[in-house]
Symmetry: C2
């Protein structure tokens, strides 16, 4: 999320917003602070975004796509379905161990905004669904008994681990991989 010198004011605002909202909170980040971080005047900001809510929503949509990329194995890795799923939890183990980790940005946004109908909450929901859809595809490829349920359970484990890291202020260690394995095993995706 580094800000290129060539980035437009719009891009700089979106990046600074995603970064500050994640690190310091949405309500806690005032427009002044945001504009200073982005190097954009308040006047320019309000020409680009009608409201702060619009910026909250668009910055999550943008940063969310990046966040998901951090967890998914790349295309054509040749990994078996079970390995593809375990890769996500190995990534979570690594990321949750970073002192800068503040949990899943989608869960964090929905949690702070409270209103399930807020446009940013809808973005959070859609992005979270991409993770569940990834699990469901791999579960189906791996011959799971009920890919949809297994994908829901894996999403629950993922979010619970991220919440644990936030509440404890520490990483999740091997609990990520062991808990995901239990759920995979029960769902019919056994270790090879």
């Amino acid at each position: 999320m580094s800000t290129s010198l060539k980035a437009t004011p719009r891009e700089r605002l979106l990046r600074a917003a995603a970064d500050l909202f994640y690190r310091e909170g949405i309500t806690a980040t005032g427009v002044e602070r945001l504009c200073r971080a982005a190097g954009v005047s308040k006047r320019s900001m309000y020409q680009l975004f009608e409201t702060k809510d619009e910026l909250v929503t668009e910055s999550l949509a943008l940063a969310g796509t990046d966040a998901l990329t951090d967890y998914f194995p790349g295309e054509a890795t040749g990994m078996a379905p079970r390995e593809q799923i375990m890769y996500v939890f190995e990534r979570l183990e690594a990321m949750a161990g970073d002192p800068a980790f503040r949990g899943c940005p989608f869960v964090g946004t929905a949690t702070e905004l409270k209103d399930p109908a807020h446009p940013a909450a809808l973005v959070a929901r859609a992005h979270k669904q991409e993770l569940t859809d990834f699990f469901a595809r791999q579960a189906a490829l791996g011959g799971a008994d009920d890919p949809e349920t297994l994908a829901d359970q894996l999403t629950v484990v993922f979010d619970g681990l991220a919440a644990r890291a936030v509440v404890r202020g520490t990483g999740v260690g091997k609990l990520a991989v062991t808990t995901a394995s239990v759920v995979l095993e029960a769902g019919g995706l056994r270790a090879g």
Copy 2:
């Protein structure tokens, strides 16, 4: 969390704070709004609590104890250890289906505050640990292979389910009971 007419200004402030922070957010709830809801002057508030942070911390400590009571089966219920654990997830299924559900208050507070060293984050961590300790005690009584790990996994499932309800803006349905069952089964606490 009804406010008795006999409640002291201190009690009214703590109750109003816990309620508003949970429903609308910590940063989003200004001191003016809080004092109005509690029927206490700002001057009185600052005589009782030096800072808003102190109120955040103490209100979570108080409301947290109530919140846990909502999930635990009462003493001397005669329920078997596995049933005691499943009771928590049945309660979560019921509570997450309420449109007013905004997730676990401990995870919510830690998520919004960001700083793992904030006094309220420490309260959140201690209260969440009470849930894990309950799971560990019951897991040990039920003859789990590794009660501590099982308790950690059950906490992960609990928090993941609560996060799901927040992100989706809907209940969690049978996923609560089915996911907890999978983890219990694998941990050596089989259904009778």
